[in-house]
Symmetry: C2
Subunit: 600 residues, 2 copies
C-alpha cells in the first residue's frame, strides 16, 4: 500500500484511496508487480496547458510508481467537439505533450490521452494514448473503434487507429486500448457491431496486462456492466485488465471517474465510481490481490451522485458558485433545490417563491420548510401579480389580445414567463445560474413554458421521469447523511400532494396528462427503447387513444426541447444531442402510426 | 417540348418549365432520347403516405414520360434523423414503397429515394434509390459515400452501398448516384476525401447517362459549384449527367430544388435553382440540346430566396400562416419583416413596436414607414414601460436586487425580456410564430438577451453577417419587384443611422463592439474558416487585443446559442447543429491562444 505525497497546493486533489493488500505472485512472472496510478481526472476542455500541469503534478507526486494511466483525451478534455477543427489546435496539443513528456519522471510510463497527427486532407486526427517515457513521446496507441450512436460522433473527428499496440514496461507487456476498443458498446446495450476485436488481438500478441483509458458518459447501471466486462475479459483471456474513466462533467455529460481492475483469474481487485474529487488510486498489478465484491449502488443513489456531479461541474466550470431556483412547493423544484444544495453547498443556493393569484398557501409553506431543512442562503418571496397584471394591461391596447381570458393558455404562460423574468434578473444582478426544474416526463410532452419555467442554464431533472423524481426524493429523505443534509430534506406534504402547475384555479397535472405511472412508461418505451406505438400499446395495455395522444404530444413538443437548457444525461437516451430529431417533421403521420390490428 | 397535364387539385404543384428545344442526336445512339421528369419535390419528414401520393400523382400526370427521378429520401423526407431508429419506421417505408410501385405507370422507370434493409444488428439501413418498374421494386442503388462533416451525420444512420448500380431503360444505361456520390464534397469545399469514386466506376461500366438524386442543403454559391461539377464530369467522361435536389426546407436546412443537366459533350442543357413551388421540368436526354449559360444569381439574391424559402417552409409545416415580429426601427428587424412579408404575404405579418424609456422617436417613425411600405397586417405600439417598472418594483423587496441601476446589464435585459413576454403572449393569443431578428455577428458575440430578443421560433438572419444584412436591404430596395414589394421596403433612415440596441441612454452598438466591418471579418474567419487567432490577426491587420477580445466573446456566448432558435443555414458554417461546440470549455485558454510571434 503506497502513500501519495501531498507536496503542493495544486496537488490537493491527490489523496490515497485504500487498495487491497497484495499477497500472491502469479504465473511465471518474477515481478513483484508494478504500481499503477489511476487518478480521478476532470480535465477542462480546451485548457491544454492546465491539463498538462495536472498530469505532471500527478506524476511527480508519486514518482516511484511505474505507470500513470490518464483517461481518454485527458490533455485536451473530452469531448472537444469542433474545437478539433480549429486551425492549429491539434498541433498545439502535440506541442504541449512534447513539453510535458520532457518534464515527466523518466522511468515512469505515462500514458496520456491526446489527439494527434491531423490529416490535412480529411481534417481528421487520431484519438491517441501517447506513450511517454524517457523524457519523450515514444509511440502512440490510437483508438480503433469509433462509436457513432447516442451522443457519440467519433467518425466526424477521428481516423481509426491502424492496429493493436502494446508497450513493455516493468516486466509486463501492456496492451493499450481507448474506451470503445474495450467496451464495444456492450456497456450501453447499443446495436453497434464492429469488425475487429482489439482485445482479442492484444491477447494474441501475448500481452499480460490491458490498460484502457475511457471518457465514457454516465448512464444508470453502466458502471456495473463495465465492471462485469472487465472481469469477464480478464477471466476469458487470462490477463490483467485495468480500466479508468474520466470524472467530472462537461455540458450535458457526466463522467463517473470509474475504475475497475481485475487480475488474470478474472477476480475483481478494485472497483469504484464517483470517488471524492481528490482521489487517486495506486493499484499494484501483476500480483494477485484479494477479490472484492462489485460495488453495489442503487439507481437512485447513482442518479443523485451523477446529477450532483453535473450541477457542480457546470456551475464551477462557468466560473460561478451560486444557483437560483424558483420554488413552487412541488416535488420537482424541491428535489432540484436539494441537489443544488448538495452540489454547491446550501449557502450558495437562493430559493425564490413567486406566488401568483392561483398559488395555494401550502405551496409557500412547503417551500419555506424545504428551505429551512436545506439551509438555503435565502428563500425570497416575490409575488408576480404586478408583472402579471401590468402585462395584461399593456396588451389591452392590442385588439387581438385585449380580452385575454383568465386561465387561458396565453394567460398561464404570462405567469410562467413573469417568473422566468424575475429569476433571470436576479441571476443578472447577483450572479449565479438559474436551474430549471422540469422532469423528463414534462419535457417529453411539452408540459412547460418556453422562456418561462424552462429558463435556466441547466434542466437538472430533465432526464429523470416523474416517478423517479419521487423515488429520488424518498432516497434523499431516507439517506440524508449521504448528501450532507442535516435531516430529511423534502417536506412530507410535497411528497404526497397531487402535482399541479397552479396556473389556473384548482388545476392539477392530471387534468391534461394521463397518470404519471402510465405517462412515464410510455415516455420510457418511446424515447429510451424506440418502440413503435403498436408495441407500446401491447406492452402497457393502455387505451390506444391515450397512447397515441401522448406520442403526438411528444413529437409536437420538439420545438421546445430544441431551445431547452442542457440536461444532465443519466439514462440510455436523454433529450438533447443524443437524440437528433426533426422539429417540423409531421407528427401524427408515420411516426405515430398504429398497426391496424391494434386499433381495430 | 412537352406539356404536363394539370388534372387534379393535388397536382397544382405541377407546371411546365420551358426546356430547350432538342436538336441533334449524338454518338451512336439511335434513340430520339428519353423524357425525364425532374420535379420540384418538398417531401414532409415522416409523412410517408403523403409523400408517396405526391410521387404517384407526378408519375400519372406525365405517364408518357420515360423516367421520373425523385430526390434523396423523397419517400420519408430528409433528414429523418433518429426517426430512422424508431421501431418499424424503415419497414413502413418499404411497405409504402411496394404499394406505390404497384400503382405506378408500369413502363415508366421511377427512381424513389427511400431508406431500406435495416440491419437489426447495427440498427443502420441503406439510403437507397428504389428502381421501380413494371409494378414492383426491381432493385436498389444505395448511397456509397456517407458524409460526416458540417450538418451531416450519415454514418450514424446508414450503411454504405456495396457497389456501383445501373439500370437499362429506353436504350440507355443509366448509372444511379445519391448526393455525395456525385459531389464528393467538392461543392462545399470541405476536406472530405473518399477512397472510391462512384462516378468513375459507372463510366467504366459503360453507362451513358448518370442520374443523381440529392438532398443537399443550401449554401450561398453551392449551386454554381454543383452546375460546374455536372458539366465537368459530363465533359471528362463523355456522359449525360442529370442532377436533382430536393426543394423547400426542413428545420434549419434550406434546399434549393436545384437541377443541372449536361449532355455528353459537357454542354449545360439546363440549370435552375429555387423554381416556383409547382414547377416540374421534363428534360429530354440522349440527344443534344442547346447549350445554356449557367444561371447567374448574386449572393444577396440567393440569400433572399433561401431565407424566404426557410421562413415559409417552417411556418407552413408547423401548420401556421402568421408571423409576429418586434420592430425596433433598426435594420435587422426591418429586413426580417420584409423577408417574412415576402414569404408569407404581408397580410400574415404583424409588426409590434415596443418602445421603452430609452427609445428614440425615429425608431417608431421608421417602423411605421416600414410597415406601410410592406403593407403589414398590423403595426401595433405597446410600450413596455409598465412591465419594466412593475418588474423593478417587484424586485425591490429582494435585498440583493433592490437597487437595480438604470442602464445596468440586468436593467437592459428586463427590457428585452419584457418585449419577449409581449411577443410570446400575442403569439399564444392569435397564433403565429415569433421570428427573432438577431444577425450572425450578434449571435456570434452574444449581443442579445436570452429569453428576450432571442425569443422566437426562428432566428431569420442568424446566418447573415451584419454588413450582409445591409447588403440584403439594399438588394431588396434595388429589386423590389423580385420579392413582390410595391416599392423599396426598407426606410432610408434605417439604412443610414448608427445601429443601437436602445437599452440605455444614447447607446450605440459600437460602444461595446468593434466596427461591424471588422467584427464581421473576424467572425467569418473564426467560424466559417476555422482560422487560428494568429492568422486572423495577420489577415485582418487588427489590434491583437481587439481580435482576442472578440474571440473570447464568441466562445463565451456558446451557452446562449445553445438555446437559440433555429437559424436558416445559408453559409458554409452556420451556428447550430453544423457546429457542435463545448459550452463550458475554457474560453481564454487554448481556443484563443495567440502565437507569441504575433503578441510580441
Amino acid at each position: 500500500m503506497k502513500a501519495v505525497a501531498r507536496n503542493s497546493r495544486r496537488l490537493s486533489f491527490l489523496r490515497l484511496v485504500t487498495v487491497p493488500e497484495c499477497r500472491t505472485s502469479i504465473g511465471g512472472l518474477s515481478s513483484q508487480g508494478m504500481d499503477v496510478i489511476l487518478p480521478h481526472l476532470d480535465s477542462r476542455t480546451g485548457d491544454i496547458e492546465a491539463n498538462a500541469r495536472l498530469i505532471s503534478d500527478l506524476a511527480h507526486a508519486s514518482a516511484d510508481c511505474d505507470v500513470l494511466l490518464t483517461p481518454e483525451l485527458a490533455l485536451c478534455g473530452y469531448p472537444p467537439r469542433d474545437l478539433l477543427f480549429r486551425e492549429g489546435f491539434v498541433e498545439r496539443c502535440e506541442q504541449v505533450l512534447d513539453d510535458l513528456a520532457a518534464t515527466l519522471p523518466p522511468d515512469m510510463l505515462v500514458l496520456v490521452g491526446c489527439p494527434h497527427a491531423r490529416d490535412a486532407d480529411s481534417g481528421r486526427c487520431f484519438n491517441g494514448l501517447a506513450v511517454c517515457r524517457g523524457g519523450r513521446v515514444e509511440t502512440w496507441a490510437d483508438k480503433r473503434l469509433l462509436p457513432g450512436y447516442d451522443v457519440f460522433d467519433d467518425d466526424r473527428y477521428f481516423l481509426p487507429g491502424g492496429g493493436s499496440r502494446w508497450v513493455e514496461h516493468a516486466g509486463h507487456r501492456i496492451g493499450l486500448l481507448i474506451c470503445e476498443d474495450l467496451w464495444q458498446a456492450g456497456d450501453v446495450q447499443e446495436h453497434a457491431q464492429y469488425e475487429v476485436d482489439p482485445v482479442a488481438e492484444l491477447v494474441k500478441e501475448d500481452c499480460d496486462v490491458i490498460m484502457a483509458a475511457s471518457a465514457s458518459p454516465f448512464i444508470v447501471g453502466k458502471h456495473a456492466r463495465q465492471v462485469s466486462t472487465v472481469t469477464r475479459l480478464a477471466r476469458e483471456h487470462g490477463i490483467h485488465v485495468l480500466a479508468i474513466n474520466r470524472g467530472g462533467s462537461e455540458d450535458d455529460l457526466v463522467f463517473d471517474g470509474g475504475v475497475a481492475v481485475a487480475d488474470a483469474h478474472g477476480s475483481l481487485l478494485h472497483a469504484h465510481q464517483f470517488p471524492s474529487d481528490d482521489a487517486a488510486l495506486i493499484q499494484k498489478v501483476g500480483v494477485n490481490g484479494t477479490a472484492v465484491e462489485p460495488p453495489s449502488s442503487d439507481e437512485d443513489a447513482q442518479r443523485f451522485k451523477a446529477i450532483v456531479t453535473s450541477v457542480r461541474g457546470y456551475v464551477r466550470k462557468t466560473g460561478g458558485r451560486k444557483a437560483i431556483i424558483g420554488l413552487s412547493g412541488g416535488i420537482d423544484s424541491a428535489v432540484t433545490a436539494a441537489i443544488a444544495a448538495a452540489a454547491l453547498g446550501p449557502e450558495n443556493v437562493t430559493g425564490v417563491m413567486m406566488p401568483s393569484r392561483y398559488s395555494s398557501s401550502h405551496s409557500l409553506e412547503d417551500s419555506r420548510t424545504l428551505s429551512d431543512a436545506l439551509g438555503l442562503s435565502a428563500c425570497i418571496e416575490l409575488p408576480i401579480e404586478r408583472i402579471h397584471s401590468a402585462t395584461r394591461d399593456v396588451l389591452k391596447s392590442c385588439d387581438e389580445v385585449a380580452h385575454l381570458e383568465e386561465g387561458s393558455l396565453a394567460d398561464q404562460n404570462i405567469q410562467a414567463r413573469a417568473r422566468g423574468l424575475i429569476l433571470m434578473t436576479i441571476s443578472n444582478a447577483i450572479g449565479g445560474l438559474v436551474l430549471s426544474t422540469g422532469n423528463k416526463s414534462e419535457v417529453a410532452v411539452g408540459y412547460a413554458t418556453l422562456y418561462g419555467d424552462m429558463c435556466g442554464a441547466m434542466a437538472v431533472l430533465g432526464d429523470v421521469l416523474k416517478m423517479d423524481v419521487y423515488a429520488l426524493a424518498r432516497w434523499m429523505n431516507d439517506h440524508p447523511s449521504h448528501a450532507g443534509f442535516k435531516g430529511p430534506p423534502i417536506p412530507e406534504s410535497t411528497m404526497t400532494k397531487p402535482p399541479s402547475a397552479e396556473l389556473r384555479p384548482d388545476q392539477v397535472d392530471q387534468d391534461s396528462l394521463p397518470p404519471y405511472e402510465l405517462l412515464d412508461e410510455i415516455v420510457r418505451l418511446w424515447i429510451e427503447e424506440e418502440q413503435s406505438a403498436g408495441r407500446i400499446i401491447e406492452t402497457t395495455g393502455a387505451d390506444p387513444k391515450v397512447v397515441s395522444d401522448v406520442l403526438k404530444m411528444i413529437d409536437q413538443a420538439q420545438f421546445k426541447r430544441d431551445q431547452a437548457a442542457i440536461i444532465p444525461k443519466v439514462s440510455r437516451r436523454a433529450f438533447g444531442r443524443g437524440r437528433p430529431w426533426p422539429i417540423i417533421g409531421r407528427p401524427g403521420a408515420a411516426p405515430v402510426w398504429i398497426p391496424a390490428s391494434t386499433t381495430a
